[in-house]
C-alpha cells in the first residue's frame, strides 16, 4: 500500500461522508467511524517501515513528495487514533445540532490534512497541507457561531501571520538552494551561514509558535479551545497544536541538524537555550493563569498552553533525555488532554451546556464512568506515578538537573504544582462537593462517549506502568536524529545517574493500598449517609443554599492575580484597536465610491501635467 492511497482515502472519506449525510444520517455516522478506524489500521501497518521519497505530483517543475519514517509514524498514529476516538465521541454530542454533515466533513478534513503534514517530504506540500488544516480548523472553531466567531477570527488572524512567516522562509529556502525536499535541504544547510540559519529559525519559530501556542503567540488558544465544540477541542488540544511541535522537530533536527542547532550562539545567549527559557516561561505563567479560571474548558485550554511548554522545553534543550521526554510528552498530552476535553464535553452534554465551574458539583454519584475518565486524565496531567505523564516529566526533570540547569528544572517543577491546584479544582468543582438540586436526575454519558474515554484512560495507565512500549519507538526516532539512545527496559530506564522502575513503584503503591483497604474492611461497616448529613461542630449546615465550589482558591487568587494578567493579549487587543483606527482614517480617502477614485486619478494626472508644463521634468 502506498502513501498516496492513504491520503486519497483520508481526504476522499471526508467528502463521501458529507455526501452520505445528505442521504441518511445513520449511514453517514457508520461510514465516518469506519473510515477513521480504517486509517488507524492502515497507519499501523506501516509500523517499522521506512518509505522513501515518492513523488506524487508535479507542480511548477517541483516534485511534491511523500515519505514516512519513525517520527512521522509516531505522529501519524497519534493523529489517527485521537481523530477516530473523537469521531466516536462526536456521534451523540453533535446529533442534536445543526449542520452536522458539515461538522463531519471538517473533522475528517482536519485529520486528513494533519496526516498530510506529517507525511509530506518537502516543504511545499507541507505548506499546502498546513493551510488546509488552518482553514478547516477555523471553520470548526467558529462552528457554534456567537462568541465562537470572534474566537475563530482571533485564531485565523494569528494563524495567517504564522503562515506568512513560513511562506517567506520556504521561498527563501527555495531561492537559495533550489529545492524544498527535506532530505536534500539537510546536507545543503551545512554550507549556510549561521546568520541565515537564525533568520530561518526565527521565521519558522513564529509560524510554529503560533500553532503550538508558545508565549507570546498563545493568545488565540484559550478563546478557541473554550468556544469550539468539545470533540474538536479534544483534537485541537490533543494533536492539532502539536503540528507546531512536529514543525519544530522537522526544522530543528531534520533540516538544520542537531550540531548546527546547538552551535548557534554562546552559553546562555545560544538559540537553543533561549528557546528553552521561552518554553519554561510558557510552562509557569499559563499554569497559574489556569488556576484562576472558572470555565472548565478555558481552564483546560490554559493548561494546554502550559503543557505545550514542557514539550518545547524538551525539544529545545537538546539532550537525548530531553528530546525523548518532549516526544513522549506529546503522545501523553494527546491522550490525557483529549480525554479531559471529552470529560468536560460529556458533562456539558448532560447538563445542557454548563461548563461554569461555580455552578456544577457532586456529579460523581451521577456520572461515575465520566468521573473515572476525569481522575485518570487529571493524574496523567499532574504526572502522578503510575500514569504516563509521570515518566515524561521525570525524564525532563532529570536531564535538566543533571545537565546543570536547575532554574529551568524549577520552572518545570513549579509548573507541576500549579497543575495540581487547577486539576483538583477541576475535579472538585465538577464531580465532588454538593450535588445541586437541578442535577439530581442526570444520567451518565452515553455509551458512545464512554468508549473513547475508557480507551484513553487505559492508554494513560498502560503507558505509565509500561513506559517501555512507546519509549522504544521514540528511541528509534532519536537515534535516527543523531542522539545517543537511552537504555530502556519495558518498565523504565536503566541508568547510572538514577534509574526508574515503574513496576516497583506500582507494586509498592498497590500492595500498600490493598493492605490499607483490608484494614479499613476490618472495622465495623460504615453507615451510608446523604450528602446533607454533615458534621459542622454544632453549626447548622445550610442545604442547597451555598455552593462550596465558588472561589475555591480565593486566598491565592487575591495574592497572585495582580501578577497574572495576560498583558500580551491586552497588548494585541490594543494593537487591533490602533489598526482599526488607522484603517478608519485611511477609509476617509478610500471611500469605495468609483467617482472619488476617478477624481483622484484625474487630479493626479492634472498634477503631473502641471509639473511637466511648469518645470519640464521629463524630457
Amino acid at each position: 500500500m502506498s502513501l498516496q492511497l492513504l491520503l486519497i482515502i483520508a481526504f476522499g472519506s471526508s467528502l463521501v461522508t458529507y455526501i452520505l449525510g445528505k442521504l441518511s444520517q445513520r449511514l453517514r455516522d457508520i461510514f465516518a467511524v469506519i473510515a477513521s478506524w480504517a486509517l488507524v489500521v492502515m497507519v499501523a501497518v506501516f509500523y517499522g517501515k521506512q518509505v522513501e521519497n515518492t513523488s506524487y505530483l508535479k507542480f511548477l517543475d517541483m516534485n511534491l513528495i511523500l515519505r514516512m519514517d519513525t517520527l512521522s509514524w509516531l505522529f501519524a498514529i497519534t493523529i489517527t487514533v485521537v481523530g477516530a476516538l473523537s469521531i466516536i465521541f462526536a456521534l451523540s454530542y453533535i446529533k442534536m445540532k445543526e449542520r452536522t454533515d458539515f461538522f463531519y466533513l471538517m473533522m475528517l478534513l482536519v485529520n486528513a490534512s494533519m496526516l498530510g503534514i506529517v507525511l509530506s517530504g518537502d516543504l511545499a506540500s507541507f505548506y499546502i497541507f498546513w493551510e488546509i488544516m488552518s482553514w478547516s480548523a477555523f471553520l470548526l472553531i467558529s462552528y457554534n457561531r456567537g462568541p465562537a466567531l470572534a474566537a475563530g477570527m482571533k485564531y485565523i488572524v494569528m494563524s495567517i501571520l504564522g503562515s506568512v512567516a513560513m511562506l517567506v522562509a520556504v521561498l527563501s529556502l527555495y531561492g537559495r538552494f533550489g529545492t524544498l525536499v527535506i532530505s536534500e535541504l539537510a546536507p545543503a544547510m551545512t554550507s549556510a551561514s549561521s546568520g541565515y540559519i537564525l533568520f530561518l529559525l526565527l521565521l519558522f519559530f513564529t509560524s510554529f509558535g503560533v500553532k503550538n501556542a508558545v508565549l507570546p503567540f498563545h493568545t488565540w488558544l484559550p478563546d478557541a479551545h473554550s468556544e469550539a465544540p468539545s470533540p474538536f477541542s479534544a483534537v485541537l488540544s490533543g494533536i492539532l497544536i502539536k503540528m507546531g511541535t512536529y514543525g519544530f522537530f522537522i526544522v530543528i533536527y531534520a533540516i538544520v541538524g542537531l550540531k548546527i542547532f546547538l552551535g548557534l550562539g554562546q552559553g546562555i545567549l545560544s538559540f537553543h537555550y533561549i528557546l528553552s527559557i521561552v518554553g519554561a516561561i510558557t510552562i509557569i505563567i499559563p499554569s497559574f493563569i489556569a488556576v484562576l479560571q472558572n470555565d472548565a474548558k478555558r481552564l483546560l485550554a490554559w493548561s494546554t498552553v502550559g503543557q505545550a511548554g514542557y514539550i518545547i522545553l524538551g525539544i529545545a534543550y537538546g539532550t537525548s533525555l530531553s528530546v525523548t521526554s518532549g516526544l513522549f510528552h506529546f503522545v501523553n498530552h494527546a491522550a490525557f488532554k483529549a480525554l479531559l476535553f471529552m470529560v468536560v464535553g460529556a458533562v456539558e452534554y448532560r447538563t445542557g451546556g454548563v461548563r461554569d465551574l461555580n455552578s456544577l458539583g457532586g456529579l460523581i454519584k451521577k456520572m461515575p464512568v465520566t468521573f473515572i475518565g476525569a481522575i485518570v486524565g487529571v493524574c496523567g496531567l499532574i504526572g502522578v506515578p503510575l500514569t504516563n505523564g509521570f515518566v515524561s516529566k521525570w525524564l525532563i526533570y532529570k536531564t535538566l538537573i543533571l545537565e546543570g540547569s536547575p532554574l529551568l528544572a524549577f520552572a518545570a517543577l513549579i509548573g507541576t504544582w500549579g497543575t495540581i491546584l487547577y486539576s483538583y479544582k477541576l475535579i472538585h468543582n465538577i464531580f465532588l462537593g454538593q450535588l445541586p438540586v437541578e442535577y439530581k436526575e442526570i444520567k451518565d454519558a452515553p455509551i458512545s462517549m464512554q468508549v473513547p474515554m475508557v480507551i484513553f484512560s487505559l492508554v494513560i495507565v498502560t503507558f505509565g506502568v509500561l513506559p517501555g512500549v512507546p519509549l522504544r519507538i521514540i528511541n528509534n526516532i532519536i537515534s535516527s536524529l543523531g542522539f545517543e539512545p537511552l537504555n530502556v527496559s519495558l518498565w523504565g530506564i536503566v541508568s547510572e545517574t538514577g534509574a526508574l522502575n515503574t513496576i516497583n513503584i506500582s507494586v509498592a503503591v498497590i500492595i500498600a493500598g490493598i493492605i490499607a483497604w483490608l484494614i479499613y474492611r476490618a472495622g465495623k461497616s460504615a453507615v451510608r449517609v446523604s450528602q446533607d448529613d454533615n458534621y459542622a461542630a454544632g453549626a447548622y449546615v445550610p442545604v442547597d443554599k451555598y455552593s462550596y465550589t465558588v472561589d475555591f482558591y480565593n486566598p491565592l487568587y487575591r495574592i497572585v492575580s495582580p501578577f497574572l494578567k495576560d498583558y500580551i493579549d491586552i497588548f494585541y487587543v490594543k494593537l487591533t484597536g490602533w489598526t482599526r483606527k488607522f484603517c478608519g482614517k485611511v477609509r476617509l480617502v478610500y471611500t469605495g465610491d468609483v467617482g472619488n477614485y476617478v477624481m483622484y486619478i484625474m487630479s493626479f494626472i492634472a498634477l503631473l501635467i502641471f509639473i511637466q508644463l511648469t518645470w519640464s521634468v521629463w524630457k
Binding site: G361, G362, I364, K365, I382, G383, V384, P385, W394, Y397, K398, I401, L402, P406, L407, F410, L413, I414, W417, I420, L421, Y424, H428, F431, L432, G433, L435, T497, G498, A499, L500, N501, N504, I505, A508, V509, I510, A512, G513, I515, A516, W517, I519, Y520, A522, G523, A526, V527, V529, Q531, D532, N534, Y535, A536, A537, Y548, Y553, P555, L556, I559
Partner: protein, 318 residues
C-alpha cells in the same frame, strides 16, 4: 532481606510517628503546666476508633483514604532509614517528591466527596499552603541535587559521609536554613496549622471521619510526620551518618553486623527526635497564621534564602 525490610520499615515508621505524636502532646501539656495524657494515648485512640461506628459518603470517600495511606507507605520505602532503603534503585528523590503528593491527594478526593463546607475550605487551604512551601522546598532540593550531581537520595546521604552534614557544608548552609524555616509548614504544625485548624473549621479535611476512617487517618498522620522529618534528616543531617565509625568497625569485625544496622537506626531516630522537639517548641509558642500571612512568609525569607543558596551552589559547585 530487602523484602523483610519492605514489611518492617512501614511498621517502624508508624511506631516512630505515633511515638512522636504522643510525645508532642506530653510536651505541649508540660509547657502549659498540665499533666497531659499518657504517651501511648494516640495508640489507644486508634484502637478505640476502630471499635466505633462510622459514616461513609460513598466509594471515593473510602478509596481516597486508602490511597493516602498507600502513598505514604510507598514514600517510606523510598526513604533511606539508616542504610536501609528497599526501593533505592527505582527512582530517587524525584519519585519521592511525587509520591508525597498521593497522600494529600487521597485526602482531598476522599474529603471532596463528603460535601462538607469545612472540608472544602480545609483542602483549598492545604493546597495553597503546599504551593507556598513547595516554592522554597523545590529550590532547596534542586540545589542539593545540583551540588551532589545526582537525583538519588541514597547517593546524597552517602556523599555526606565524606563531606559532612549538608547543613554545615559551606555552599549548602543557606539551603539548610531555608529548610528549617519551612519545616513547620511541611509538618503542618502551628503557626502553619491552617488546613486542619480545629477551632476554626472543625479540623478541615478530617471533619467527616469517624470510626475506622479516623483510625486510618491517624495512621497516615503518623507516617507523614515520620516522612517530613526523615526527609530533612536524610538530606541535611547526614542520615544515619558515620559518627560511630570506630564502633561500627569494631562491631563489623566481631561479626555483629546486625547490631550496626540497629545502631544506625538509633542514630537516625535520635536525630529525628531532636528535630521534632524543636518543631514542638515552635508549635507551642506561635499562634496560627492566616493563609495569606503564611504565603507571605513562605514566599519571602525562606524563598530568598533558598534562591540565594541555589545561586551559590551554581557558582561554587561547578
Amino acid at each position: 532481606m530487602n523484602i523483610a525490610w519492605t514489611v518492617f520499615l512501614p511498621i517502624i515508621a508508624f511506631l516512630i510517628g505515633i511515638f512522636f505524636l504522643g510525645l508532642s502532646r506530653k510536651i505541649m501539656a508540660r509547657i502549659q503546666w498540665r499533666y497531659g495524657p499518657p504517651i501511648t494515648q494516640p495508640i489507644i485512640d486508634i484502637i478505640r476508633a476502630f471499635s466505633q461506628r462510622s459514616v461513609s459518603h460513598g466509594i471515593l470517600f473510602n478509596l481516597g483514604i486508602a490511597l493516602s495511606v498507600a502513598g505514604s507507605v510507598a514514600v517510606v520505602l523510598f526513604l533511606p532509614f539508616g542504610k536501609v532503603c528497599p526501593l533505592s534503585s527505582s527512582g530517587g528523590l524525584l519519585v519521592i517528591l511525587y509520591l508525597m503528593l498521593l497522600s494529600p491527594l487521597g485526602f482531598a478526593l476522599s474529603g471532596g466527596e463528603a460535601a462538607n463546607p469545612n472540608i472544602s475550605i480545609g483542602i483549598s487551604r492545604k493546597f495553597i499552603l503546599a504551593l507556598g512551601y513547595e516554592v522554597p522546598m523545590l529550590l532547596i532540593l534542586l540545589s542539593l541535587m545540583t551540588y551532589h550531581k545526582t537525583i538519588s537520595i541514597v547517593k546524597i546521604v552517602e556523599a555526606q559521609q565524606n563531606t559532612g552534614w549538608s547543613i554545615v557544608t559551606l555552599p549548602l548552609v543557606l539551603s539548610g536554613i531555608a529548610y528549617l524555616l519551612i519545616l513547620p509548614a511541611i509538618l503542618g504544625v502551628r503557626p502553619f496549622e491552617i488546613a486542619g485548624a480545629s477551632q476554626e473549621i472543625s479540623s478541615g479535611p478530617m471533619a467527616e471521619y469517624g470510626g475506622q476512617y479516623l483510625a486510618i487517618a491517624d495512621v497516615e498522620h503518623a507516617l507523614s510526620l515520620f516522612i517530613g522529618i526523615a526527609l530533612f534528616v536524610n538530606l541535611f543531617l547526614g542520615g544515619a551518618g558515620d559518627i560511630f565509625a570506630p564502633v561500627e568497625n569494631f562491631l563489623a569485625s566481631s561479626g555483629l553486623s546486625c547490631m550496626v544496622t540497629f545502631l544506625e537506626g538509633l542514630v537516625f531516630f535520635v536525630k529525628m527526635l531532636a528535630v521534632f522537639v524543636i518543631c514542638v517548641f515552635i508549635n507551642a509558642v506561635y499562634p496560627r497564621l492566616r493563609i495569606e500571612q503564611a504565603i507571605g512568609y513562605l514566599w519571602r525569607w525562606p524563598t530568598i534564602f533558598a534562591f540565594a543558596g541555589l545561586v551559590i551552589v551554581l557558582i561554587v559547585g561547578r
